[in-house]
Subunit: 276 residues, 2 copies
């Protein structure tokens, strides 16, 4: 089965903690050690990203299609790690990562899509959003900053905005990196325990963690409301970092292969030219 | 000798074609094959970029200092290749590459520093400029779009702008990737001969190549005029791609080591905290 079918959220999607542990690309347990499995997953990911790098070059050479990969997930779910894995091989002049943090006053003074729109990909580019316009129907909902009516209005704004992007040449891939509550506990604890990681810890992460169930519910609602055939959501089990990278690379490669990309046709006149 | 002393342009700098072949980080010829040397340079570069990646994380953790690496060079001099080598290991959420092409009408309607200023690094970030504000004292001079008086005025605008950036926390590193005219001929010819590279070929490159000497002169003038202790120019022999990457990584690592970075001090209170 294709990854884009297997991991598509769809309209009946339910978020369940236990599924965050899944390693669907592994065919059962053949007795390998955990570190051997991880190493194998790392190597497979490099092979896939090498292949994505070639397709990205073709995309860039033609400058027509645009790819937008939206990454969402709870704190510590591995958005940065996923981005680093993709950048490992893909030419950074055609790949851009944009992080969206707490909006500035100037950003808040605009509609919530304003700062997002500015950063969408141009022809030939892959852009990865590290958080996105979806924060405006997640954290705002959990904190009670917007009511149900406003939330639904925003879903519609998102649907309209994404359809416009798709109709003007953008491929939209929305990925939810799904970790379990226990996995988040371990990752936050690791940040506290390691002096070289403590700077990553934000006391606000614990405040948000207390609202774990509210967030899961907000994610589930948002994903179901905005999963469309032209801008689908994929839910990626992400308790394993190496398997998560393998999965996201598999998905992105599959989507790029479907574009049937190629280099522009060479010009026979140019092929005969000699540079002096 | 430190790389920042060895490759510093300085006020008496002269561009000479033959020096583009230098491999100053190699200690003489010990009979290795060309491919063995390249492989060794690749591995050394990975070691250096791994170390830069750690320092970059410290820079990012503290969000105070900013690093701006300006890459300039003739067509095919390897600006993209250098950027790819750096992105190979450094976390892309703290490293950003910005390419400056032919200015848009909106950009042209502003002063030449306007579009540059927008993209300078924020605290904790390394930004690489693939071409820069220096194009406005290079191509414009060679094409006769500005006269000598305007060119000198722009040098001063650049000096003032860069001093302001340095005084507000930015480390500026300006690198000229120096290739020879013969090396450019080979690289352009390779683009014409290889059907998968032909899309990189731009007929305008041949037009510019005819003005090779004018460009070298414009570079030499611009580098001498804008080489300062706070925003120095480094001239990197770049006929060898692997040695070029090794050199730029060496230089960047040296500059980042001089910043004496460290992780923020851990908070003893946080270290005792247990996540629930």
């Amino acid at each position: 089965m294709k990854a884009r079918e297997q991991f598509r959220a769809g309209k009946n999607f339910k978020l369940r903690d236990e599924s965050a542990d899944d390693r669907p690309l592994r065919n059962g347990d053949n007795g390998e050690s955990k570190s051997a499995i991880k190493q194998e997953e790392r190597e497979l990911t490099l092979q896939l990203t090498d292949r994505i790098a070639v397709l990205q070059e073709m995309l860039y050479a033609r400058r027509q299609r645009k790819v937008l990969l939206v990454l969402q997930g709870m704190d510590t779910s591995g958005k940065d790690g996923t981005i680093t894995a993709l950048f490992n091989r893909i030419n950074p002049m055609g790949l851009r990562a944009v992080g969206f943090k707490v909006p500035s006053p100037a950003e808040l003074a605009h509609d919530f899509l304003w700062r997002i729109h500015y950063h969408v990909p141009v022809g030939g580019e892959i852009v990865i959003f590290n958080r996105s316009h979806y924060e405006d129907v997640l954290i705002t909902v959990v904190q009670g900053l917007i009511d149900d009516k406003e939330c639904k209005r925003r879903y519609q704004h998102i649907l309209d905005f994404e359809r416009m992007l798709v109709e003007t040449g953008t491929i939209i891939v929305k990925v939810f990196l799904h970790i379990s509550k226990e996995e988040q506990r371990e990752r936050l604890q690791a940040r506290l325990d390691d002096p070289e990681k403590q700077w990553k810890f934000d006391a606000n992460d614990l405040v948000q963690r207390k609202k774990w169930n509210d967030y899961q519910q907000a994610y589930q609602r948002a994903i179901v409301a905005t999963d469309t055939d032209h801008a689908p959501w994929y839910v990626i089990p992400a308790n394993s970092k190496t398997h998560r990278n393998l999965l996201v690379s598999t998905l992105l490669l599959e989507i790029m292969e479907d574009l049937a990309l190629s280099y522009p046709d060479p010009d026979p006149g140019l092929s005969k030219l000699k540079v002096e």
